[in-house]
Symmetry: C2
Subunit: 67 residues, 2 copies
């Protein structure tokens, strides 16, 4: 699954560490999501979407991937 996390974060002009603090997760979690090392839990996905004020589908792009 792709995501637009880095793009949205840079639009806001904030650092990974600041986003991590706002979301109450670790900096490594943000970096791992931006670089596609793993997908977020649905709870974290909701918090990210709410933080940026958009829907989950606008950030996380699901494309028929292999389960």
């Amino acid at each position: 699954m792709k995501n637009r996390l880095e793009e949205l974060r840079k639009q806001r002009g904030i650092k990974q560490e600041e986003l991590a603090a706002a979301l109450e997760v670790s900096r490594q979690t943000i970096g791992s999501l931006e670089n596609g090392r793993y997908n977020p839990s649905i709870l974290l996905a909701f918090r990210i979407a709410r933080y940026f004020g958009v829907g989950i589908e606008e950030i996380f792009i699901y494309e028929e991937e292999t389960i």
Copy 2:
């Protein structure tokens, strides 16, 4: 997190087992989600939303829960 899985499934008039087969997960996974034993992964949430033809936010209701 609450969800409307049981409601949507019964609207379609299908059994847990049939929904499970359509989504390629186990019947126990459907039951566990309907009864709130755990939340789906974001990949499964996407597949469920796509199956029912609605957005994730229309099925899974996030309400500022304790992380």
